[in-house]
């Protein structure tokens, strides 16, 4: 058991380093890569932003009725390589979710059907609404908690108010508070239930180049891997399912490994 705890600690430290490094890189104002989408959930409205949010670009391009070749290409390639690996290892909002769940409180487990909510959100608020109702303030970006945290709040302090004035700002803050509370009581709740980018990468999880592999004859069905999973899946029975964020916490048992086979 001691070796499992040590392995979990090593994996967690490694993830914190990569997540923090991504957060730092995306907030280097002297890096001018705003014309390129980063493959993580982020907001380019941040005063320090160095890259574009892929969801923001998809919303804007749907509004303009332009096909987003580069953004879809980047997301597709990243998904093909690792599926939702970026959700577990690179996403700054994932880091926030991980930290929020460490706050002591009553914890709840989510019904598996809730994980399907993100798909209509992706199709509706990222593609359909901006395309068919351009200019209406009901796209994903208008409700995005990442946008509120990284753009609306900092810009409010810098003296520039959000479009829609205080009512819109209060609405966005309320959504952010809801997401924060949801993140405290349920592990990775945003990623599992609501994240449209997670919905895109989830599509690739089943066949991506890097995926988990179970050495079945060594598995003793001890249940440790399932108990460590932050998204409440049983890696033995649901390996490489769409909801797996590839955090690698389950690899602490050594019967599960991330590889290309």
């Amino acid at each position: 058991m001691g070796s499992i705890i040590n392995r979990i600690k090593r994996i967690t430290i490694a993830r914190r380093i990569t997540q923090s490094a991504t957060l730092l890189f995306l907030n280097l104002p002297f890096v001018h890569l705003l014309m390129v989408s980063c493959p993580v959930f982020y907001c380019h409205g941040c005063p320090l932003a160095s890259m574009a949010c892929p969801l923001g670009v998809l919303v804007n391009f749907s509004t303009l009725r332009i096909f987003p070749f580069v953004t879809l290409g980047i997301l597709g390639l990243v998904g093909t390589i690792g599926g939702r690996l970026v959700c577990g290892w690179l996403c700054p909002f994932g880091l926030i979710q991980d930290l929020l769940h460490k706050i002591p409180s009553r914890k709840i487990s989510l019904h598996p059907l809730l994980s399907y909510v993100k798909y209509p959100l992706l199709i509706g608020l990222v593609f359909a609404v901006p395309y068919f109702l351009p200019g209406k303030p009901i796209t994903f970006c208008h409700f995005c908690p990442s946008g509120t945290l990284e753009a609306s709040i900092p810009w409010q302090f810098l003296g520039q108010s959000s479009q829609g004035g205080w009512p819109a700002f209060i609405m966005r803050i309320s959504i952010l508070v809801g997401v924060v509370v949801f993140g405290i009581v349920a592990s990775r709740s945003w990623c599992r239930v609501l994240c449209p980018l997670g919905a895109i990468f989830a599509f690739f999880n089943r066949f991506s180049i890097f995926r988990f592999r179970l050495t079945r004859h060594e598995c003793k069905d001890c249940g440790v891997c399932a108990s460590k999973c932050p998204v409440d899946i049983d890696p033995v029975k649901q390996m490489n399912t769409a909801e797996c964020i590839r955090c690698m916490d389950c690899t602490c048992t050594e019967h599960i490994k991330l590889g290309m086979k």
Partner: protein, 84 residues
Amino acid sequence: MSAPISKPAPALRALIILVCAIVFLALIAYSAHRVRYNFGDKSNTEFTATQLSLSHNLIRADDGSLQQKDGDVTNTGARRPCPT
């Protein structure tokens, strides 16, 4: 407990990966070499369109054409409140 999920056969998986890699690389390559948008009295790449769209300086006009607002802001960055 949920039922075990099925996994694609190795050959099928390799084929899917190959197709995906080719398609998504082709999307980027096609955009870089072929895709041009006419606004601001010149031909622009998708990267320029992306950067302008972030700051909402690119709009679809009533006649269906793309138009650039506020002059040339391609080098000013897009750091403005989102989604405003």
